[in-house]
Amino acid sequence: MSLDTVKHAAETPDAAQPWAELGLKQDEYERIREILDRRPTGAELAMYSVMWSEHCSYKSSKVHLKQFSEKAPKSEAMLVGIGENAGVVDVGQGYAVTFKVESHNHPSYIEPYQGAATGVGGIVRDILAMGARPVAVVDPLRFGAADHPDTKRVLPGVVAGIGGYGNCLGLPNIGGEVVFDPCYQGNPLVNAGCIGVMKHEDIHLAKASGPGNKVILYGARTGGDGIGGVSVLASETFDDSKPAKRPAVQVGDPFQEKLLIECTLEVFREDLVAGIQDLGGAGLSCATSELASAGSGGMRIELDTVPLRDASLSPEEILMSESQERMCAIVEPGKVDRFLEICEKWDVIATVIGEVTEGERLEIFWHGEQIVDVPPRSVAHEGPTYHRPYARPDWQDTLQADDAGRLPRPQTPEELREQVLRLVGSPNQASKAWITDQYDRFVQGNTVLAQPEDAGMVRIDEESNLGVAIATDGNGRYAKLDPYTGAQLALAEAYRNVAATGAKPLAVSDCLNFGSPEDPAVMWQFAEATRGLADACRQLGTPVTGGNVSLYNQTGETAIHPTPVVAVLGVIDDVTRRTPIAFAAEGQLLYLLGDTREEFGGSAWSQVVHDHLGGLPPAVDLDRERLLGEILISASRDGMIDAAHDLSDGGLIQAVVESCLRGGTGARLIVPDGLDAFTLLFSESAGRAVVAVPRSEEVRFNDMCGARGLPATRIGVVDGDAVEVQGEFSIPLTELRSVYEDAIPALLA
């Protein structure tokens, strides 16, 4: 096929073009013709189609995502907000932290190992592109039923991929989630998050300014990886009838990425970079158009200078390729030599592929002939916007009316004991050590807390002991019952987890995993969840700094539960004051903070014992969450508590069992007046935590809670080698431990 140049396109206005095959709609294609005042060339069509895909343009979601900025609470900590590769937050002492969560759901279903591995690789490059050294990763995961044969294919591959890539990069994995539910059977969720640290003055942005500055592509050679992957893989429902659209999967090279990290940090250190962008979805199309669009607008690229792995690639394919482990930097001419020298030091291939120009056009040449001439904003930032119809589904009322409070409850102490053991040994509540032991949590030597703690925590300054904490949460069952409340509960839980470690919650990132936006019911879930999250962020004072949307998570007509995953970042001035979950010292008093109501809708108990999902999720009280957080942080700072564990799915009993097993000690619980044992143990009321208070601190702690109006109820004592609920049952730690620890290996090993 001959080269489709700009000139040729102007001369052949009526040539047929495969816009539909590339995923564009008729009106979108017409709009491109209008923008260009001619038909697009093949290369231009490739660029627009990937950049205007759902995955890159957020066309279905952006009208809703706007709320995150519009409703954002005033926060002095926010240095860079939504729109950049990742948001940046001030954590004090001149340090800034950047963090973000992204999805790699569809690729991970097709090729679990590589899909998950490249998911980690992608988010790490986003963080790196902000100017930060990546310091930790987290991985919120959702799989189908734990005993389904396909879960045995997907889960081990995903876990090995996340470990294989992250371990090889030298990034400690400090948190995440593993949730099983049949709704994710054909559509696992593989979300990955990364945190990076830098000094304020090191923040870098993705923009190309300064005509004459050079555009340098560095990292891996470009191959035929995932061509069309971004538009097709991330936006289409799986459907066996269209195998032809199944594109090549990308393969990750973590060693190359490790070199890319070290090399990039070194060029930052020597101040050689004027602008930088990672190459992720949509590859060079995205990097060049975004850099130019955010900068002064003009850029000229000689595409034939791009180092290739496969010499037969066409210019369109080079523009669309999603080969991993590549970055694009804007460098002043006088600094180019030093830049290339540092790349050589790290065995990283680097090539000047173009320069920033005076004009406002992105121009791309192939062996001297022009194949692209576009206004970069029209590609990168002015894609289509859909106002998709949404409607509350007619089944929502029926679902909510199916109250979990009416489910039969245990009648005898024996039954209660048996249900506790079933809960603790259920796949969602059992220990995830078989999975998390496959991740390096020690590398970099700064890990203060990691799984199974409430939040991961790393030290970022060895002198002052300044640290940051992160937790990710999301409960699709709650969100299915009520997406508005469900999203708020996800935020509340992550917030509570961070506060439980003693860190002050500062900011939020999110990964919104939903079904097809073309289904009005799904779109309603999405609209409700974003509204709920934006409202809650405002009320808690934690702005959304960035995130990711993953749509089309469904098999056939059936969507996954709406699954907003929320990451909360917190800061702690002195990590030596962090609060772990372990009950370590016998004799310490156990206090339950917050109010316990009869709330079982969407609960772990209703799932494990009754395989039931119905009713309403627990009520949200964000003022209470904030107060609870303040108390947990003060108590940690002033040494009033030695352990804290937030209460969430599985309720009090799950938290107590985890804290006991972690510390190797037992606990004796007494059911307080006004509650029955069942409700005390299994209710999932939000805004609660259990803490261990040294006897010497009891008065001071009680006074603080009393003065600030937080209900604090003494429910027992750390003691012995069993978990005992007085008058009900006692379960030896050894029995709990084997039930809790053997469940996942029995299913997967």
Binding site: P254, F255, K258, Q444
Partner: protein, 237 residues
């Protein structure tokens, strides 16, 4: 003059900065060494840290072994300079044949990261003299290619000459069959670390550099002894 300990960085080395920190915590000067330089900058001892040099593609340690810095290190090690290989560093040392045997994929095929109990079998090497023989310590283990193998004859020789330096004695929590709770990867004779005949070259799979501060890592400082041992040796030498 303080003792100077070189810490080598290969492409893909991960624990170099942690190892430098451990050297400093022990009161010595950490000297970064780069894989392309033959010059060892007159250090008194060298640590080959953990990580995935060259991605561990081909075999762990196989590619790094041929680097310029290793030429000098092999030469100096043979002349008696203390060398400690941790994890990937141990793998490099077996690939160079400074230490016998080889490291293979863990028998359960997974990467494993956990706090690992060890017994110090030989407290007379350059790197273990701060411990008592028979002392039990607990430090992080994290690898996927950690299964030590060697011919029966070699193993017998190692045992007879007291060259098994540290041995796995348990520590993993649940989730693994009983055998693996003791021995995390199928290493023959539970070997976690060995030394050469002269006692100056030591390799071990677990990571003492992640257990030198009470605050981070496992919260224990059981690994510090490897670094104070070499300090003791260097200042008394």
């Amino acid at each position: 003059m303080t003792a100077r300990v070189g810490v080598v960085t290969f492409p893909g080395t991960l624990d170099d900065r942690d190892t430098q920190r451990a050297v400093r915590v022990a009161g010595m000067e950490a000297v970064p060494l780069w894989h392309r330089d033959k010059d060892l900058k007159q250090v008194d001892a060298v640590v080959l840290p953990g990580g995935f040099s060259y991605g561990d593609y081909l075999r762990a340690g196989a590619i790094s072994r041929f680097s310029p810095v290793m030429e000098s290190i092999i030469e100096q090690a043979k002349a008696g300079m203390p060398v400690l290989g941790i994890c990937n560093g141990f793998q490099v040392l077996t690939e160079t044949h400074l230490l016998p045997g080889a490291m293979l994929r863990n028998n359960h095929l997974h990467f494993i990261c956990r706090d690992q109990k060890l017994r110090v079998e030989n407290a007379d090497t350059a790197w273990t003299s701060s411990y008592e023989s028979g002392q039990e310590i607990s430090i992080p283990l994290k690898n996927i290619d950690g299964r030590y193998v060697a011919e029966e004859r070699v193993l017998d020789e190692l045992e007879a000459e007291g060259r098994v330096v540290v041995r796995y004695i348990g520590g993993g929590l649940g989730g693994y069959p009983l055998e693996e709770r003791r021995n995390p990867n199928g290493s023959l004779r539970d070997i976690a670390g060995i030394t050469n005949a002269a006692g100056n070259v030591v390799g071990l799979m677990p990571h003492p550099e992640h257990a030198v501060e009470p605050l981070v890592g496992t919260g224990r400082t059981d690994g510090l002894g490897f670094f104070t041992s070499i300090l003791k040796k260097l200042v008394t030498a």
